[in-house]
Every structure is written in C-alpha cells, then in structure tokens.
Amino acid sequence: MRAVIAEDLALLRDGLTRLLRDNDIEVVDAVSDGDALVHAVVRERPDIAIVDIRMPPTFRDEGLRAALELRERVPETAILIFSQYVEGTYARELLADGRGGVGYLLKDRVMDVDSFVEAVRRVADGGTALDPEVVAHFVGRTNRLAALTPRETEVLALMAEGRSNAGIADVLVLTVGAVEKHVASILQKLQLPPSDETHRRVLAVLAYLDSTL
C-alpha cells in the first residue's frame, strides 16, 4: 500500500512516516502544505492521503480544502483527515459526495498503533473511519434518531465509525446475531433499504444523518 502524508509539524510528520513504514505501508511522499499535497497526490496516485487540516500558509483549513479538491481530481485516492480537533462541518463536507474511502480521525488515535493502521487500511480499501468524536457530533445533533433505542444508537455510532458487525459485537459484548438484528431495526426505523456491505450501510447512514443536520 502506498501513502502520502501532509503534515506541517516535522515532529509528527516524521513520526507518522516511521509508524507507517514499520507497519508495511510505503510512504511515497511527506509534504507540509496543501499545494504540495495536491501535487504529490496527482503525481503519485497513492492509495491513501493522510492529511492534517491546519497547514501553512494560512493555518486554517488548508488541508481540508486540498482534500476536497483531491476528491474530485483523483477519486481513486482515499483521504484520511488527521487532526487535533473535530469539526462537524468539515466531516460533513468530506462525506458530502457519499463515496467511501474517507476518514476523519483525531491525532490521539495514533497512540493505539494497531487500530490506527487498521483504520488506514480500511479507508484505503474504500471503507470509512470516523472518529468517535466526529460521530458524536452527528448523532448528538440528529433528532430523527429519537426513534432509536439507546442500544441501537450505540450500534449506529459504531457503524458510523466504520466497524463491521463482528467488530460491533466485540465492543458491545453481544453476539453477531444480536448486532445484525439491531442493524436491521435501525435501517428499518431510518427507512433505509438493507444492504450487505458494511461500509455502504455506513455511508447510507451518514448520508441520512447529513441530510438531517
């Protein structure tokens, strides 16, 4: 797997590069601003770009703008936003096209190296990885979820993070069968057609959440 990193703080750029290399992900370029990111991705066509939001020269949402541009210009490259803060609006903009291969994680998540690497791989494969904090932004502000039971809300949040049924069953200490029932119930209550693929369900759910914000 090939990755491009965009991060302006050398400390984190180097650390991340080493972490990915240690885990057999090739870092083909590591840049420190939005323009350089766009150039690197257009040139290298990596599987995934890991992008910090705030970068020079304006130190605002540079990275996110570059990421949105790349979604259009190089659709085959997945985008993982990697930031120190969660901004619901940014996640919504990123998810707006309803395609997979996007993620938004807090930098804190890098501390659990294995699940971070797993999230990188999942996003690169066209899945999603949304930080629980990001999901909380969506779920907490959506009143049409009132019909869900507390358990179903939990399941939905984990789905949104990009977990499989087996993963959700693990976290909630349930059987996979029980999780499947919850999922079916959620999809029914939200009037979404059932589907087999985890990430498609997630995107459907997120699209639904997005439309209600």
Binding site: L9, L11, L12, G15, L16, R18, L19, D22, R54, F59, Q84, K107, D108, V110, M111, D112, V113, D114, F116
Partner: protein, 326 residues
C-alpha cells in the same frame, strides 16, 4: 468601601446639625416673642440657616460633580430670592446675580459635554484596542498549544504505541521509542510552562514586580540594571501591565537594538506607576513591531499612556504611565 462610609457618616452629621439649627431657630422665635414681638428679626437667621442646611443636605447626596454644582447654584438662587422677599420685596435685584450664576453653569455644561465627548471617543478607541489585543493573545496561545504541547503529546503517545507494538518483536527498538516518548513528555512540559509564564508569570503573582523584573533581567544576554521603588503593591491589572511593559521593552532591546546596556526603572509618580525601559542600542524601534503595538493597546486599555522615543542611532526609551487611582 471607605468612601461609602464617609458619605454615611457625613449624612448622619448633617442630620444631627440640621436638628440643632432648627432648635436654635425655634429658640430665637421664643426670644423674639418674649422680647415684645417687634420687628421680625429671626427671619434673617432662618434664611441663613436654611441656606446652610439645604446646601449641606444637597452636598450629602451621592451626586456627580456637575449635578452638585447645579444643585448648589439653585440653592444659592433661592436664598437670594428669599433675602429679596424678607427685605420687603421692591426691585427684583436677585435677577442680576442669578443671571451670572446661570451663565457660569452654562459655561460649565458646555465644557463638560466637550470633555465627556472626548472621553467617550478615547474609551471607544482604547476598548477596541483592548479587545483586539486580547484576541491576538488568545490566537497566539491557541497556536502555541496546537503546535507545541498538543503535538508533543501526540508524538509521545505515538512513541508509546510503537514501543508497545515492538515490545516482544524488537525490545531494543521498543526502548528507543520509549526514550523518545520521555523526551517528548519533557518537551511538552517545558512548552506548557513557557506558555503559562507568557500568560501570567508565577513569580509576579507570588513575589510582585521587583522580583519578577529581576528574574527577567537574569535571563538577559546583556547587563540589565533594575530599579523598582514601590511602597505598596499596585492593583493586579496595573502590576501585570507594568510587568509586560518591562518584559516587552527588554525583549525588544535584546532582539533589535544591539544594546550593550539596558536600564529598567519602575517608580510611583503621584497616583501613577511609571515603567521605563532604556537601552543604549541603535534605536529605530517601531510600533509596526507587533509587540510594541500590543503593549500600547494593553496600557491604553488601563487609561495609561505609552511613549516610545527611539531616534535612529539610539538611545531608545519606552515609558508607560499607568494610573493607579481608583
């Protein structure tokens, strides 16, 4: 507190004196009656005591200076009319002194309006300066946190995570990651400390201006003489502003002036605190330098003034006058 107490005491005294004067007036009435009730002379004493009581009563009211002046003028006018009436009416002579009093009050009102307009302008300007300075400061703190301690903590966690991953596979590498994690923790602490000091230095809160400015001078690469002469500790806002005048002035001299000697002098002048930073460097200090501009906003927000004299070739004097009176 103390001024409220003074007013209360004053009011009580006024009330007691008023009763005493009324008793005297009554007594004089009895004397007049007993002495055969001739020409009604107690009226003059009554008029005079009325003037005194009314004037003291108005003075005891918590009025502004202008309202006080107007009230006293009106009381004086009424007294004059009273004198005219008591002296058997006749030509209405009080019109002349009353016209003079009215003219004086009018002049005073015009001056007052001009002064208050100028003050409103000044307050508006310095307030927006203060808001802007606070905003800039907050942005800088947020940026420092984001790029400093927060990033170090992420690196720290990442190194611990990597060490955990390598622990069984490659213990030596795990040890390397742990050493880096420790370095990141040390650096994060250092950055948090520096940031906290930039917001409000602990030594300033603990020991006051003298110790805090001496501590600043200790870290300077150029000889700095510090002279702080204060009787009492100034109010917190004044003290903090004075500290930042000293620290920004010092930083400015060290960074730009190529000075060989710097003097910092803090003393009281009447009811104000004066902070002066003088260096023998090459001069040319400008407020376009963000630090000095921020300093002016900070000082003016406290109704103080900042003077920067820095001709090409030096020397540079930065002087802030910070009023301490309530």
């Amino acid at each position: 507190m103390s001024s409220v107490l003074t007013v209360t005491l004053f009011r009580r005294t006024v009330r007691a004196s008023a009763w005493a004067v009324l008793l005297i007036d009554l007594f004089l009435l009895i004397v007049w009656a007993a002495s055969g009730a001739g020409s009604f002379w107690p009226k003059w004493v009554w008029l005079a005591s009325g003037l005194v009581i009314a004037s003291a009563w108005w003075k005891a009211k918590p009025n502004g200076a202008f309202a006080q002046h107007l009230g006293q003028s009106a009381i004086l006018g009424l007294f004059l009319i009273g004198v005219w009436a008591a002296s058997g009416f006749g030509t209405f002579w009080p019109v002349y002194p009353i016209a003079v009093i009215a003219l004086l009050s009018g002049l005073r009102a015009v001056g007052r309006r001009e002064r208050s307009e100028a003050r409103v302008e000044e307050v508006t300007r310095t307030r927006s300066g203060a808001v802007e300075a606070a905003e800039t400061q907050l942005r800088r703190i947020e940026r420092d946190l984001h790029d400093g301690a927060q990033a170090r903590l992420v690196a720290l966690g990442m190194n611990i995570g990597l060490a955990e991953q390598q622990l069984t596979k490659d213990p030596e590498k795990a040890q390397e990651h742990l050493a880096e994690a420790r370095a990141a923790a040390t650096a994060a602490l250092q950055e948090l400390r520096d940031l906290a000091r930039g917001i409000h230095p602990p030594i300033l809160a603990d020991r006051g201006l003298d110790a805090a400015i001496h501590a600043l001078a200790l870290h300077a690469s150029v000889p700095v003489s510090v002279d702080v002469e204060l009787v009492d500790r100034p109010p917190v806002a004044i003290e903090t502003a004075a500290y930042f005048v000293a620290s920004e002035g010092l930083a400015n001299a060290l960074k730009h002036a190529h000075a060989s000697r710097i003097d910092i002098d803090v003393h009281e002048r009447e009811t104000a605190l004066v902070v002066r930073v003088l260096d023998d460097g090459r001069g040319g200090a400008s407020e376009l330098n963000g630090g000095l501009h921020g300093l002016r906003q900070r000082v003016e927000a406290l109704d103080g003034s900042l003077r920067i004299a820095s001709p090409e070739g030096g020397p540079t004097i930065i002087e802030a006058v910070l009023p301490c009176a309530p």
